[in-house]
């Protein structure tokens, strides 16, 4: 009986020490996340690099081959084609998507009171890529799809969309613009709210037109937000996979085999080659880092002209 009380007292003291030792508490708090980070982020990142120097089909033992995998993919015409297709997709996707996002954001800003509009524009982003892919596969169907029916009714030329090599990538870009323009518009809208209204009032007094105000006030002051939007969407675009897997599965005739599809094929479809697949993913990573650095410099992401006014 006495021992039990003593034990409980000890436990309580231990609990007190634990709960008031800041360092210990800090480590306890980050422990689960640290395990997750090490096991599924840090280690795999290095392991990816390591595997890219081995020939490995998951079944037999891995063989060290040096830079052979990199030589292999650089000599592989399909690898270069996949990069080209990915770039083509990014070019179709980003400029239009960003321009529409800016337009919608400005309109949302004018229609502040209609907050439901913001909700409306974000709904497409809530849908899984798989659902969006299926939906557009149906709407863009060359012979039965409603889009061609409407085009025909308006007397416009119809298109094979996802079914033809030249139009497949632009169509997939269009699908993703539909899904992401509202999401990006919300981000830009939040950036617009940071621009002091007094700037526009001053410009009004000076007699500057709406168009002039847009180019000399809105756009420059939006730069940090735009940089964020453009960089994150470019990174996302380079990794397009879901939509393609659902709609074209890389076709027609390999026209939509992007870099992620190439990597996927190396491991799960064409052959089981972990080495070349990870080598390609490392190359993709390096491309993304380069693109991010260049964009950061070009768009001066960290600097806002707003600083000059405050």
């Amino acid at each position: 009986m006495v021992a039990a009380t003593e034990e409980r007292g000890l436990l309580k003291r231990l609990g007190n020490v634990l709960s008031d030792n800041e360092s210990l508490l800090g480590y306890l708090f980050i422990l689960p996340s640290l395990i997750g980070f090490i096991a599924f982020f840090a280690v795999p990142a290095f392991r990816s690099l390591l595997i890219s120097f081995y020939e490995w089909n998951l079944l037999s033992d891995a063989q060290f081959v040096g830079f052979q995998n990199y030589n292999d993919i650089f000599a592989d015409e399909r690898f270069w084609r996949s990069l080209q297709i990915t770039l083509w997709y990014v070019i179709w996707n980003i400029p239009l998507q960003t321009a529409l996002a800016i337009f919608i954001a400005i309109m949302l800003d004018r229609l502040q009171n209609w907050s439901w509009l913001r909700g409306l524009f974000i709904i497409p982003w809530l849908l899984p890529n798989v659902v969006v892919g299926l939906l557009f596969l149906w709407m863009l169907d060359p012979s039965l799809g409603i889009v061609n029916v409407i085009l025909q009714a308006l007397g416009l030329p119809t298109s094979a969309f996802l079914g033809a090599t030249e139009t497949a990538i632009p169509s997939i870009a269009g699908i993703n613009i539909w899904r992401h323009m509202g999401y990006n518009a919300i981000l830009v809208f939040a950036g617009l709210k940071l621009i002091p209204k007094t700037l526009y009032e001053a410009a009004d007094i000076d007699g500057a037109s709406g168009w002039t105000q847009f180019w000399s006030i809105t756009l420059p002051l939006l730069r940090p937000v735009l940089a964020f939007v453009v960089i994150t969407s470019v990174i996302g675009s380079f990794q397009i996979f879901d939509t393609i897997a659902i709609t074209t599965q890389g076709g027609p005739a390999g026209a939509t085999r992007t870099i992620l599809y190439y990597i996927y094929d190396e491991v799960f479809a064409r052959r089981i080659s972990m080495g070349t697949a990870t080598a390609a993913s490392v190359v993709l990573f390096l491309i993304l880092v380069t693109v991010t650095i260049l964009q950061n410099r070009y768009l001066s992401a960290g600097r806002s002209d707003l600083a000059d006014y405050s």
Partner: protein
């Protein structure tokens, strides 16, 4: 009638009185509004079209492509997606078009709820704990560890997918729920980062007052900080929920087996199994509607918060 003509006449007169620049401006304004309305319609129309197609009988989908309304309206598609009728009892044209692939909806919904539920709860809880430690507590190597997390934010998914796939395979977890949730159950760098920003923006006055009153560090966290964080916790939980509900590639790699298949993967397989000539469009559209109902419900309740959290996410 006369009044309308009159007002039209004054309108025209007013328009004629405008200077060229003003006229251009008015036209520009009109064009802007027309374009905005067009974008709204463009955003909404696909949703209408899913519903229209899902309510159309499987055969009529092929014959009445230009009808804006459902043709031979029927709940048949929903019934078969939800397993309420046996497809083999159907006869005639409709039966021929029905997808060879089977959609065991209730099983996939259960699987999705298990996966998404576990990820949402785990990731939110553990990321919040870590974020609190990074924002409020002092411990050795804190900044270095946080910096490492932030580096993880930049690594593209595919770089991690392959080694993670190998790791999960080596653990023997392919085709299990554990394998599907493993990479994101304990944290994502984004969740930690997001929560830390929230904790930093929270005034620490209350916490300091509680400390002065003799509360322990843990007591402060449990009784003061956590209750204040209910909003942000809900926000990150929502974002995690949406993200993992929509996830496709990872569950597709490790969880294709029927017993653990989630809805997105099931839809992908359903699509792959439909015949190239003559896909079961109305069935697929009914399946997509059913699979997004939970998201829509969430949006109806938390739409405002979702929009706000997206705005916030841009300012980290």
């Amino acid at each position: 009638m006369a009044a309308i003509t009159e007002s039209r006449a004054t309108g025209a007169a007013a328009y004629a009185a405008l200077s060229f620049a003003d006229r251009l401006n008015t036209l520009g304004n009109i064009a802007t509004w027309v374009f905005m309305i067009l974008l709204i319609l463009l955003t909404l129309f696909p949703f209408y079209w899913i519903i229209r197609t899902a309510l159309t009988s499987p055969g009529a989908v092929y014959t009445n492509t230009d009808s804006l309304l459902p043709v031979e309206a029927t709940a048949l598609n929903f019934q078969r997606v939800l397993g309420l009728i046996d497809p083999s009892t159907l006869v005639g044209q409709d039966a021929a078009l029905i997808s060879a692939g089977e959609l065991n909806f209730w099983l996939y919904l259960r699987n999705t709820l298990i996966v998404v539920g576990l990820i949402t709860v785990g990731q939110t809880l553990f990321s919040a704990l870590a974020a609190y430690a990074f924002a409020r507590l002092k411990f050795p190597f804190k900044n270095q560890i946080f910096f490492a997390y932030m580096t993880g934010l930049m690594i593209p998914g595919i770089v991690l997918f392959l080694p993670n796939y190998i790791f999960v395979r080596q653990l023997g977890l392919i085709g299990t729920f554990a394998g599907i949730i493993a990479p994101t159950f304990l944290m994502t760098p984004f969740a930690v980062f997001f929560m830390r920003q929230f904790f930093l923006s929270l005034s620490s006055e209350l916490e300091e007052a509680a400390l002065l009153d003799g509360a322990t560090k843990f007591g402060v966290f449990w009784r003061v900080s956590l209750p204040l964080m209910r909003g942000p916790l809900l926000t990150i939980a929502l974002l995690t929920f949406i993200g993992s509900w929509n996830d496709y590639l990872w569950p597709f790699l490790v969880g294709r087996d029927e017993e653990v298949r989630v809805l997105t993967v099931a839809l992908g397989i359903f699509r792959a199994q439909t015949p190239q000539a003559g896909p079961d469009w109305s069935g697929m559209m009914a399946a997509t509607i059913v699979s997004i109902v939970p998201t829509i419900i969430l949006f109806i309740f938390f739409g405002r918060r979702v929009v706000d959290s997206v705005q916030f996410a841009g300012f980290k």
